[in-house]
């Protein structure tokens, strides 16, 4: 059990809850329990709403699923679209989809990774990094970035827009597209869209490289903070390409490294995920805690996402991103980097890689010609695993003879990172909270550590929409000292 997760005598502690987490998709809550000396005794990241999206999927025809699952989330719908398609490829007997379908899906996926990383970095993270954690909260948003750094904001929005255009061109719609189907794809890239995307590709590669340079400048300007803030040594899990262990976001084998960078597991079949990981339920959170079966819950938790992937792989097969990966590794002086803010650096390296992949794919004739679907012997079960922007995403379905889904299990990136995010909260609480002043700066530092993981709590809890949330302050004697409510429309209401 982690030292600050469960206090020895929680009934005698003062409770401080930070709620909600801004710049996080969905909603979460952080609770710090203090003892009579106002020292942090407990630190937990809670999830406050649960709705069963898996149950919603059960009973539906399997061919609807790749479209329906996109309604889980407004940020990474394409990841769900493709993970479901990969799982259902197995149900329709498509052991391998045709090259055209594989490349079109990759194009769509790398467009998704690129636009999601751009949204997170420029819209949500860059205000903290450019203005500082203690800056006026009224300035920590993309409009203020556009005011102070118009070139950065313009490039960020253009990168995001380009990724969205890749999705539209391959999925058929800007949102909730139908391009990927069980067994392959249902459309080629049109000549018009090909020309549109190709025209801007080189410029987007340059701008993605500029984004990596920006992160490096921010790191160099405050190296201690970037190397230490929210540092949580963790095992790293991701897909890698079979054979050479290259960074692979669409399809691959599972690799796990330990906190020191040693490979613990390699070449694992992702479809055997149930043999590899197990999920622990804790009474204080709706979100489960996955861990490696072989190591157990106390030692088997791990990190997924950009920081894990960039260090878990052996190489990146695009030249600019590989050059940046090597420079990133050098910053660790031979040790893996586990600091929260390094995630942004890794994320921008991945965005550059995604854009290089897109630019290269656009020269592949298979995108516009060739068979699109495959079939084979019908199966009753399928598992699709993909590296979504935030990390490893698992979709698992069973389908009855009547073509209706009978079982659905989704393990999303944010759930994989649950323990790592909790550890990050504890690390910041230990370092920054004096037990007295609950300042906006402190709240934001805790949120900065969590936001580095770009958690998508809509996906993790399968919850949707907004809800009013509140901050409670409870004294050591159990009495409520005050409540701060942030309503769904952003209004604050205080009760003392």
């Amino acid at each position: 059990m982690t030292s600050l997760e469960t206090a020895a005598n929680p009934e005698g502690l003062r409770r401080v809850a930070i709620d909600p987490l801004t710049r996080v998709e969905g909603h979460g809550k952080v609770t710090l329990l203090l003892d009579e000396h106002d020292r942090v005794q407990q630190a937990r990241l809670h999830i406050v709403e649960f709705r069963g999206f898996e149950q919603f999927i059960c009973g539906r025809p399997y061919w609807e699923v790749p479209v329906m699952v996109q309604r889980l989330c407004g940020i990474c719908p394409v990841s769900h679209h493709l993970a479901a398609s990969k799982a259902l490829d197995q149900v329709v007997g498509a052991a391998r989809v045709p090259p055209s379908a594989d490349k079109l899906r990759r194009l769509m996926h790398y467009g998704q990774v690129m636009q999601s990383h751009a949204l997170h970095f420029f819209h949500l993270a860059s205000p903290d990094l450019l203005f500082g954690f203690d800056a006026d909260p009224a300035r920590r948003h993309i409009v203020a970035v556009a005011e102070a750094h118009p070139d950065i904001a313009r490039k960020g929005i253009a990168l995001r827009k380009y990724g969205q255009e890749v999705i539209r061109a391959t999925a058929g719609k800007r949102i909730h597209g139908t391009g990927s189907v069980p067994g392959g794809m249902n459309r080629h890239l049109s000549d018009a869209d090909h020309a549109l995307l190709l025209a801007d590709a080189a410029r987007m590669v340059e701008w993605a490289e500029d984004a990596v340079a920006l992160v490096k400048r921010l790191h160099a300007a405050d190296p201690v903070r970037h190397e230490r803030f929210g540092e949580v040594p963790a095992k790293m899990l991701s897909l890698v390409r079979p054979g050479d262990g290259a960074l692979e976001l669409y399809d691959g084998v599972v690799r796990v490294r330990d906190e020191d960078g040693r490979i613990l597991l390699d070449d694992q079949d992702p479809c055997a995920y149930l043999d590899l990981i197990e999920e622990e339920v804790k009474p204080w959170s709706y979100m489960k805690f996955p861990y490696l079966r072989t190591l157990g819950p106390a030692y088997g938790w791990y990190r997924v996402g950009p920081l894990a992937r960039v260090q878990n792989c052996s190489v990146i097969d695009t030249p600019r991103a590989e050059r940046e990966r090597r420079e990133f590794l050098d910053a660790g002086h031979g040790r893996p980097i586990h600091a929260a803010l390094a995630t942004h650096w890794a994320r921008m390296i991945e965005m550059l890689h995604a854009m290089e992949v897109i630019a290269a794919l656009l020269h592949d004739a298979d995108l516009r010609h060739g068979p699109l679907t495959a079939t084979g012997p019908r199966a009753g079960e399928g598992i699709g695993v993909i590296e979504a922007p935030r990390g490893t995403l698992i979709h698992h379905y069973r389908v009855g003879d009547d073509d209706l889904v009978t079982m659905c299990n989704l393990i999303v990136s944010t759930t994989h990172n649950n323990q790592a995010m909790n550890e990050a909260v504890r690390a910041v609480a230990r370092e920054c909270f004096d037990g007295r002043a609950l300042t906006e700066g402190l709240l934001n530092q805790i949120e900065v550590a969590i936001r580095a993981y770009d958690p998508c709590l809509s996906c993790a809890t399968h919850a949707l929409g907004s809800m009013p949330l509140q901050l409670d302050l409870v004294g050591a004697d159990g009495s409520r000292r005050g409540t701060l409510v942030r309503h769904g429309d952003g209004r604050f209401e205080r009760e003392d």
Binding site: T22, E25, V143, K161
Partner: protein
């Protein structure tokens, strides 16, 4: 390629009860439009508003936004949208005002006139169908939008406050 002068953006989740009324409104509007109108108006469905959508507003004469509104009486409300900074700027999904604020900072000028059509909506359960009352309110909203496209919609004028349809 020239940008069409009019833009309608509707958003919501088709799997969450009345949150689907935005996309359903757009479906109905698309069916009601002839080729002549479609040559002048772009129709965009979204899950939520994102910052890069400020680029979709560039070059438009007028913009109509449509979303489920749990406070809107039946059949709809209308509101002129002004650029403004609010809490949504710190989230993945922008409010209409925040979207216009992004536009203003990116382009250094005021956005085109934007009207928000708040569609009557009450129930948002996951997997629930659209309620009968929300569905019944849609035809009136579509009729208003057709008039908006023709430039003679009642209640659509600069500086108005929220009104009910």
């Amino acid at each position: 390629m020239a940008v069409k002068p009019l833009l309608v953006i509707a958003w919501g989740n088709r799997s969450r009860g009345d949150d689907a009324v935005g996309p359903l409104f757009l479906d109905a509007l698309r069916r009601a439009l002839g080729p002549e109108e479609l040559a002048r108006v772009d129709l965009l469905e979204e899950h939520q508003l994102h910052p890069e959508m400020a680029l979709d507003l560039v070059g438009r004469e007028r913009v109509l936004l449509a979303d489920a509104d749990p406070q809107a009486p039946s059949p709809y409300t209308l509101q002129a949208v002004e650029a403004g900074r609010d809490a949504s700027l710190a989230s993945h999904a922008l409010s209409p005002s925040a979207l216009l604020a992004v536009y203003r900072e990116l382009h250094g000028r005021h956005p085109p006139p934007v009207t928000l059509l708040g569609l009557h909506a009450r129930h948002f359960g996951l997997g629930r169908p659209v309620s009968a009352e929300a569905e019944a309110a849609l035809p009136a909203a579509v009729l208003w939008a057709l008039a908006w496209i023709d430039g003679d919609a009642p209640g659509d004028w600069p500086g108005r406050s929220a009104i009910s349809g």
